[in-house]
């Protein structure tokens, strides 16, 4: 007599199990079609097994996590550039990437975004090649080199920009827009040539060679269209869906575009995620990036270790580095800081401030030569005085 879903639900309701285990249990039980007696036995055994599998109190989980992530470091490749997923975009992988993540760098060496597109209707962005292509051009930063040839006319003291019609059409940009943009950004005389098609002429404010040459340089930096910092956008079709990959990252700006799926769009710049989406998102992003880096190298590290590192980095509400300028530098113990890096300065500061080291951590206790308060050092046995028993024992000995 198999029991139904509702009975299972009531039987398992108060079990102190994590959600994923509970889910598998319910699925498995439903699939096997057990009766009530069997179910009771299963529940009993699962609870026992769960308790056995739990972490033991006083376990030095921090050190184990640090070692579990650090140890495979020796087996990782050094090569900075690899091709991941998208052949067109370079991404830092391996050890340098892992270092970058725990360093909590403000900007990673190869920022990259994965822009998922909305797929609400059948002809929404994600399924429409043309819409996607247009969006890609909207996002990618267009510089003058992409759409024109620039010549410096020294005799006339002006810059002549010959725009390519085809390129302009491809990027959906008009000659007026180019003119406007230069006007806004450079604050100089910009004119559309009356004689020649698709020609823009820029005259410097002051007719000097220096000014002209400087101008010739600075027009290359003007972003005519798209988002500053996004050097390239690549469109890829994955299954049914089109996805954009970008070199360079600007999450806040990209999320404003119509057609971008805000729930699935992400970047590999953890700090940017923190600023745009908050600390919880940053924590998840650290976990994701670290797991991906390790997995790509074919190394298996339990996710709990990575979670612990991510939680430690983010538990104060901001992303802190693992190292001198973050976690280790903010420890309360003078000895712990002195034993890590910049020894002398920490000691001098402590003296000046009259700091007190409470000797709670690991390093401090090792330094003063006493057992650390962790693991077996955290447990104390206290003998309960039972006078009558002692007396009886003394009698025996006598």
């Amino acid at each position: 007599m198999a029991i139904g879903e509702s009975t299972i639900e009531t039987m398992t309701r108060d079990m102190p199990l994590p959600a994923n285990i509970m889910k598998t249990l319910k699925e498995e039980v439903l699939r096997a079609g057990v009766n009530k007696k069997q179910m009771e036995e299963i529940i009993e055994q699962v609870l026992l097994e769960y308790e056995m599998a739990c972490i033991e109190p006083c376990d030095a989980v921090g050190v184990v996590a640090a070692q579990s992530i650090g140890e495979p470091g020796t087996q990782m490749t050094m090569r900075t550039f690899h091709y991941a997923g998208v052949a067109e975009i370079n991404v830092t992988l391996g050890l340098p990437r892992l270092v970058e993540i725990v360093d909590a760098r403000k900007i990673p060496s190869t920022p990259m975004m994965t822009i998922a597109l909305s797929k609400e209707g059948p002809d929404d962005y994600a399924y429409d090649r043309e819409k996607t292509r247009i969006l890609a051009w909207e996002i990618e930063a267009t510089k003058i080199d992409h759409i024109a040839d620039v010549t410096t006319d020294l005799s006339q003291m002006k810059l002549i920009i010959d725009l390519h019609e085809k390129a302009m059409y491809g990027r959906n940009i008009t000659i007026e827009q180019v003119k406007e943009k230069f006007n806004d950004e450079l604050n100089v005389m910009v004119a559309i040539s009356p004689d020649i098609d698709n020609q823009v002429i820029i005259t410097p404010n002051e007719a000097s060679y220096r000014e002209l040459l400087q101008l010739a340089k600075s027009i290359h930096d003007v972003t005519l269209k798209g988002i500053e910092g996004i050097k390239r956008v690549v469109v890829r079709k994955e299954g049914e869906e089109y996805t954009l990959y970008t070199e360079g990252s600007a999450l806040r700006e990209v999320l404003q575009f119509e057609g971008v799926d805000r729930t699935r769009t992400t970047t590999n710049n953890i700090n940017e995620i923190y600023e745009v989406l908050g600390i919880e998102a940053a924590r998840n992003s650290i976990i994701k990036e670290a797991t991906d880096t390790l997995r790509e190298q074919g190394l298996t590290v339990d996710i709990r270790h990575i979670m612990l590192v991510a939680d430690l980095m983010t538990c104060d509400g901001e992303v802190k580095q693992i190292g001198r300028h973050g976690i280790s530098g903010e420890k309360s113990s003078v000895f712990a800081r002195a034993a890590f890096e910049v020894t002398v300065n920490h000691l001098l500061d402590a003296g000046m401030r009259g700091d007190v080291d409470l000797l709670q951590g690991v390093t401090e206790n090792i330094i003063v030569g006493q057992p650390i308060r962790m693991g077996t050092g955290d447990v104390h046995l206290v003998a309960k005085k039972r006078p009558n028993v002692l007396a009886a024992k003394d009698d025996c000995e006598l």
Partner: protein
């Protein structure tokens, strides 16, 4: 009970502070006035730097302060009265900030009362939550230094400029340390609190020294050279300089020397005091020894890896340890370590004399120096140590009584710690039990190589003999090898079969082997299983019984083990037939019997071994250890009986295969040439987002990579599972198919930074090629196989690729070492609590439940809910039966 150590006292806290001149004088044993150290008889001079009031280092002398001998006396500080105050270099930054933040006339902090109250409340708040106050303090300094007119006395503030190394200019006028000290003296206590200083323990004027503490002689011992000459410590040299200048300064001032000379001398005194504290201050030349070597002064002693903190306090040297070369011994259990007799005779274990062991200990004492388990030392209850020698051993054996202690030599069964550097994870130090063996190397079961990352090409390992009962108990329960088979990194076994273990069992269990009775018993001889064979699988012509290799292996498996999984040799067919696998690569175990499948890396290998993992989880660690012991012994026997050797002839491929390979390579080269031609003719379409140059490189790389793979496949198809190299590669014992194809077919493209080799001469890699040649052989494609031999250019390119690999490894080890150090340092204080939260030692919660589910990664079944499935199916199946 005299030799029972007292309950250790715990230091609960250590307070830091600055020393006031008063305090320095109070703790000083003597004032140091003369720069001389020893008189003509080599005796320390009174009031000199080696005054016996400061402690003694020469044997025979007694300290005048505490009357202790050398070794007993901890040393005592002295002091030098400086004629004029000097600045302590370490505090330059703070002195500068404070000068700018305090009034030049009334010395008060240049903040108004509400501001002060605001910063003070912020400081207390931050202290309460246990954060560092640096930001608030810096903010206070910044605010105060912005103020131009003192809010209390109305005095206008002048600009203070700091000049390296220790000069302060106020509007171009030099501020003397005396003036600075005067200003700081006037800062009221409540103002000091605002900038985060503790007025009771650190008054700002104490950052300017008027009295210099002289460290005890024990801190700066002099060494007597072989020639009988005394060589003084660097600190003593520096102190001599300070005293000399101090004296000269005094003389000159008393004589009324001109201001210029006084100032010069003052500066000189400042220099010497500065370098006494820190000899690497920027802006001044480091003080040097006569030989030109820079002196090692106070801060140099503390800094860096070999400094006091990292070198002497965080890491310590220990006794009762040994180090020697390691070598393998498959007959040892994984829980054992073979200890050479010479080491066993030196390392000792303390044993208390009791009525139960007194006779045994007497035997040990008498054996000392002759037979191995002897005793080296005897301790009387009063703590006196007596060495057991040839002459006194009989006496001592008679003399020992209860409560004495004997240090007996290391013997079989003792628990020791075994370690190999670099100690990257907790499995780098494990507890083994001793097995004393002849010869001079440590012996260990090759199955424990993976956690130590050890091999036997000359590796050395360390051993530590445990000295107390508590430590031995802890090591046995937590650190023994069998308790560490499962790695907390990924929850799978990190100890398991390697190399011959895998190929041995692979050969034994692959398909149906016919094994006669004597052979079967011989295979199982070294294992500890019951000597009862099951029903034979088949019978020969004369009715003699034969067993299969699978049956032999099954003898090692515990009853009640049920499993089914794909072996390493699995060729990943499109539809897995599971139990029906025609290649015998789906392992089925029913009730401890191997029914189908081949045992290889996926079953018993380190990092992967599924059977091993299941046995530990289902039957416990000691069964797991026993299983490893048994299968390693069986495997070695099996591979020994069948034999497995690999030679140059095993790379032979038939003629038609090499013709095929040449065809493939020739075609690939043609394709590359075609690509180059289209590139030159500008017909090549660039890949999206790539330049033309990048595109051609990528397409060539791709073409050649494909060609290499193809040649590999050709070679592979001509080598079957009878080839020992293929056996090793397929079973996961050693090497890969790629290694094999490089030997037999084609080595392939040599790469530097993931690209074809480009560097070398202008426009070409080697003078053998034309400039601008883009062809495959001009950029490091090696067509030859290792067996056929490389031509000179290929050889050269191969060396380039190989060198990159070496450099890569060297850089990586240092980088990952630093990463590991930082991670451990940041995370070491985290501990799981009784409520399964993770907190640091201050009590700050980092995770509310460890890993969100509280599960120990070691027992996490690779983070898959296998256990639940097992429980459900167990319960259901049992009910059906």
């Amino acid at each position: 009970m005299a030799n029972v150590p007292p309950i250790p006292k715990r230091i609960s806290a250590i307070k830091f502070g600055l020393m006031s001149p008063k305090e320095i004088r109070k703790m000083s044993a003597t004032s140091i006035d003369t720069a001389d150290t020893y008189d003509d008889d080599g005796f320390p001079i009174d009031m000199g730097l080696m005054d016996t009031k400061l402690g003694v280092i020469d044997p025979g002398l007694r300290c005048k302060t505490c009357h202790g001998r050398a070794g007993e006396c901890p040393g005592h500080f002295g002091h030098i009265n400086l004629v004029a105050p000097v600045i302590h270099v370490g505090f330059n930054k703070i002195i500068r900030k404070l000068l700018r933040a305090s009034c030049r006339k009334c010395s008060r902090l240049l903040l108004d009362v509400p501001q002060k109250a605001h910063f003070l409340s912020q400081l207390t708040a931050i202290e309460e939550i246990g954060h560092r106050p640096d930001d608030v303090i810096n903010e206070a300094y910044k605010e105060a230094s912005k103020v131009k007119v003192c809010p209390y006395c109305g005095e206008e503030q002048l600009d203070i400029k700091f000049e390296k190394p220790t000069e302060y200019l106020e509007d171009g006028e030099k501020l003397t340390p005396t003036e600075i000290r005067g200003r700081f003296e006037g800062i009221p206590d409540e103002d000091i609190k605002v900038i985060g200083m503790d007025p009771n323990n650190a008054r700002p004027e104490w950052m300017i020294l008027t009295v210099l503490p002289v460290p005890p002689v024990t801190v700066r011992p002099s060494i007597t050279l072989e020639s009988g000459q005394r060589s003084e410590d660097d600190l003593t040299h520096k102190l001599v300089d300070i005293i000399r200048i101090n004296y000269r300064f005094q003389e000159n001032r008393e004589a009324g020397a001109p201001q210029l000379i006084i100032e010069d001398l003052w500066e000189l005194l400042q220099y010497h005091v500065t370098t006494f504290f820190d000899n690497s201050v920027s802006g001044i030349p480091p003080a040097r020894h006569r030989s030109g070597r820079p002196l090692k002064t106070l801060s140099q002693r503390l800094k860096g890896k070999e400094g006091r903190f990292r070198g002497s306090l965080s890491g310590k040297r220990v006794n009762f340890s040994a180090r020697t070369v390691i070598s393998p011994d498959p007959n040892l259990s994984i829980n054992e370590v073979g200890v050479p007799i010479p080491i066993a005779r030196i390392l000792t274990v303390p044993v208390n004399v009791t009525p139960r062991n007194i006779e045994q200990l007497r035997v040990f004492i008498r054996n000392s120096g002759v037979v191995h388990p002897g005793a080296n030392y005897v301790f009387r209850p009063d703590g006196r140590r007596i060495k057991v020698t040839e002459s006194n051993k009989e006496d001592l054996a008679e003399k020992i009584e209860y409560n004495w202690m004997v240090e007996r030599q290391l013997n079989d069964g003792d628990t020791v710690l075994f370690n190999r550097q670099p100690s990257l994870h907790k499995m780098s130090i494990m507890a083994h039990s001793v097995k004393v063996l002849p010869d001079k190397t440590f012996r260990l079961n090759p199955a424990v190589c993976p956690p130590y990352n050890a091999d036997f090409d000359g590796d050395e390992m360390n051993m530590h003999a445990l000295q107390t009962e508590e430590s031995r108990a802890e090591a046995r329960i937590l650190m023994q090898v069998q308790e560490n088979i499962l790695s907390p990194r990924f929850g799978g076994p990190i100890i398991g079969g390697i190399h011959d273990h895998i190929s041995g069992l692979f050969i034994l269990t692959r398909f149906e082997k016919k094994i006669s009775k004597p052979n079967a018993y011989d295979l199982l001889r070294k294992t500890d299983v019951e000597r009862v064979l099951p029903e034979p699988a088949s019978f020969g012509e004369n009715g003699e019984p034969y067993w299969t290799g699978k049956q032999i292996f099954s003898q090692l498996l515990p009853k009640g083990l049920n499993m089914g999984f794909s072996a390493q040799v699995c060729s990943h067919c499109e539809t897995c037939k599971k139990e029906e696998c025609p290649y015998d690569s789906y392992v089925v175990i029913e009730d401890g019997e191997l029914i189908k499948g081949t045992i290889d890396e996926a079953s018993i290998g380190a990092f992967k071994g599924k059977i091993l993992e299941r046995i530990i989880k289902q039957f416990g660690a000691s069964q797991g250890a026993r299983f490893v012991d048994n299968f390693t012994r069986l495997a070695i026997r099996a591979v020994m009986r069948s034999g497995l050797s690999f030679g140059i002839a095993d790379e032979d491929i038939p003629k038609e295969a090499s013709i095929q390979i040449n065809e493939v390579l020739g075609k690939a080269e043609d394709d590359v040439q075609k690509l180059i031609q289209s590139f030159i003719n500008k017909e090549l379409e660039p890949l999206p987002g790539r330049t033309l140059d990048e595109t051609i490189e990528m397409s060539i790389m791709q073409k050649l990579g494909k060609a290499r793979d193809e040649t590999g496949n050709i070679a592979d198809s001509h080598m079957g599972l009878e080839n020992p190299a293929v056996i090793m590669a397929r079973s996961g014992a050693r090497g890969s198919i790629l290694n094999l194809t490089q030997m037999a077919a084609c080595v392939g493209q040599q790469a530097v930074r993931g690209e074809r080799i480009q560097r070398g001469y202008a426009g070409r890699t080697l003078p053998h090629f034309a400039k601008g040649d883009l062809g495959s052989d001009a950029h490091g494609f090696v067509k030859a196989s290792y067996k056929s031999g490389l031509n000179p250019t290929e050889y050269f390119f191969h060396a380039i690729g190989g060198r990159e690999g070496l450099v890569d490894t060297a850089v990586r080890t240092s980088q990952s070492g630093y990463l590991q150090r930082r991670l451990v340092n940041a995370l070491q204080d985290l501990e799981a609590q009784y409520d399964l939260t993770v907190r640091d030692t201050r009590g700050v919660v980092v995770q509310f439940k460890f890993g969100e589910d509280g599960i120990n990664p070691t027992k996490s079944d690779f983070s898959k809910p296998d256990a639940i499935r097992r429980i459900v199916s167990d319960v259901v199946n049992r009910e059906v039966e």
